[in-house]
């Protein structure tokens, strides 16, 4: 049986936020009598993640998903509740725990700006107690997987965003962590670079059985990497489960565009009891519930003269968008 590698119970996090009114008067007031209020950004959440799982954290901006990742990797201290990651309390930042994890934040650099990435890789290798031979071996392996080669010897400031992101990944993975926390890893990358990064993460997960916790606003990242998602809404978990179940629940019908041989066939089909969305000449669009799609298509193909048909999935962004604004999804 696969073990839970992350256990979170009744976790909450509050931040003290000070607010300032605009203008000179506001500045003076802020200087002498600062107004501070406590803002609870994570509210009593609990979940588990199994070893080797890739879990996507979904939520609107400010929902709290990045704060959850920061607490999971030990970067910030939880206000209430407990977190156990790989048997460790993350915030204690024990050496063995830190050697097992990595955190990648979209646009945040850990590479030394004025030096080629290879220098940062060797520095990280020393920090993680890797000898030069082992470091060289891992840099070679990861650079092949990430398809970077010449870029290793060019100063970071001269690399493109995509090349920098790949180098960041290599720097973050040189110690072969078995838990990856990725916060918007494809932010700002072009479509090809995004695809390559996703392919790399899939391969890394397959080869090392690493657990990956991921946040992204690009739905393609979530759909191609994550079987399971945790949706966060205003600091609370609104859904925690399989992605395909969520999609089925949120879009229970499919739209089917049917091109009939003649307009008469289209009219016959229109009057046969299916839920029709629209009809233009011999083309008719009908809505069929997911569970009855096979039987309905069989009926249509057997009873009507069909030239062509297209099954349209609703756009994933649209479907997930519904999750981000709703408090709770029970499936």
């Amino acid at each position: 049986m696969v073990q839970n590698i992350i256990n979170v119970k009744n976790l909450s996090k509050s931040f003290d936020i000070s607010s300032k009114e605009p203008g000179f008067k506001g500045t003076i007031k802020h200087f002498f009598r600062r107004q501070t209020k406590s803002l609870k950004v994570i509210k009593d959440i609990s979940f588990e993640i199994k070893e080797g799982e890739i879990v996507g954290f979904l939520g609107a901006n400010g929902a709290g998903k990045t704060t959850i990742l920061k607490m999971l990797c030990g970067l910030i201290y939880p206000s209430e509740g407990s977190i156990l990651v790989s048997g460790y309390l993350p915030f204690r930042r024990k050496e063995n725990f830190l050697k097992n994890i990595t955190l990648i934040m979209g646009q945040k650099q850990q590479l030394i700006w004025d030096l080629p990435p290879i220098e940062s890789f060797y520095l990280n290798a020393s920090i993680y107690d890797l000898d030069k031979f082992e470091a060289k071996k891992r840099i070679k392996k990861l650079s092949e997987m990430l398809e970077i080669d010449e870029e290793l010897f060019i100063p970071v400031r001269k690399l493109s965003l995509g090349q920098r992101m790949k180098s960041e990944l290599l720097a973050a993975l040189i110690h072969e962590p078995n838990i990856l926390f990725l916060d918007e890893p494809t932010l700002g990358l072009d479509i090809n670079a995004q695809r390559n990064l996703r392919k790399f993460l899939q391969r890394y997960n397959k080869e090392t059985n690493a657990t990956i916790c991921l946040t992204s606003h690009y739905m393609k990242d979530i759909t191609s990497l994550c079987k399971r998602v945790i949706c966060v809404h205003e600091g609370r978990i609104s859904y925690n489960g399989k992605l395909d179940l969520l999609l089925k629940k949120l879009s229970p019908v499919k739209e089917i565009l049917i091109v009939c041989r003649t307009e008469e066939d289209a009219i016959k089909l229109e009057n046969s009891g299916f839920s029709v969305k629209n009809k233009i000449k011999n083309e008719i669009t009908i809505k069929i519930e997911n569970h009855s799609i096979t039987s309905s298509l069989k009926t249509i193909l057997n009873n009507f003269d069909i030239e062509d048909l297209f099954i349209n999935e609703p756009p994933i962004d649209e479907v997930i968008g519904k999750v981000l604004i709703k408090k709770n999804y029970d499936i």
Partner: protein
């Protein structure tokens, strides 16, 4: 690369306050009032320049910027205290400054040939140790102040308050021996005279209590280090990973 070379040269030149002070002291014959010869005084300020070059610390500014911009976050989840990075950066810069400091010393001796002297090997080694200890004290003081970023977000303002006593009491503007006796007795209880005055006097061959000075430097390090550890542990609990 040219801009980097120029930057390094400017770093070295930026520490020439002791030479201005030497000029003020000798032009006004102020040294006569404290019974220090011109030669001793010029050697003192040259040594003060060298000590300053190899003990100057700016960690509070680097840490503050990194902390506010969220750059500290990736370092915090590595099995190495981020301050080791800053420590290594300072050491690397000191090595880079060395040739430029030698060039400045060369020109100093051309204009002040009577000040040329060769310290004996033992004194030279003790001076290097003392300068390194001075660097450690300053690094620890600034690291403690830098950790206040976890509470105030503007720790460099507090550092500026410390800069005033550092400037006046460290021996950068005047040898501590020039202060009145009752002030001196108080100054020697602070860490400041062990930052510039003591190592500079040691290197320049002026009369100084070597064992007492080194003991005080080590004592300050032993006092400051646990304080840094404590404030670091408490501060990281307050870290909010701003800017990321």
């Amino acid at each position: 690369m040219l801009e980097y070379r120029v930057e390094i040269a400017l770093w070295a030149i930026s520490g020439i306050i002791p030479f201005f002070m030497l000029n003020i002291w000798t032009n006004n014959n102020l040294n006569e009032s404290i019974n220090i010869s011109d030669v001793s005084l010029s050697r003192y300020f040259l040594c003060a320049f060298f000590v300053r070059q190899f003990s100057v610390v700016w960690v509070v500014f680097s840490f503050e910027e990194d902390s506010l911009m969220g750059k500290v976050s990736p370092y915090l989840i590595q099995p190495l205290n981020p301050f080791f990075r800053y420590f290594a950066q300072h050491l690397a810069e000191q090595i880079t400054r060395f040739p430029f400091a030698l060039i400045i010393a060369f020109f100093f001796f051309i204009f002040n040939p009577e000040s040329i002297w060769i310290p004996n090997l033992g004194i030279l080694l003790l001076s290097i140790v003392s300068t390194f200890l001075s660097f450690l004290i300053q690094f620890l003081i600034q690291s403690i102040v830098a950790c206040l970023c976890f509470w105030t977000e503007k720790a460099s303002s507090i550092e500026r308050l410390l800069f005033i006593p550092t400037l006046f009491l460290s021996g950068l503007l005047a040898p501590v021996v020039s202060f009145p006796a009752y002030v001196k007795s108080w100054i020697y209880l602070t860490p400041f005279p062990y930052l510039i005055d003591f190592p500079a006097n040691l290197l320049s061959g002026n009369e100084t209590n070597i064992s007492g000075g080194l003991t005080m430097q080590i004592l300050w390090i032993f006092l400051l280090f646990p304080l840094f550890k404590k404030i670091w542990t408490e501060g990281t609990k307050k870290y909010t990973a701003m800017g990321s």
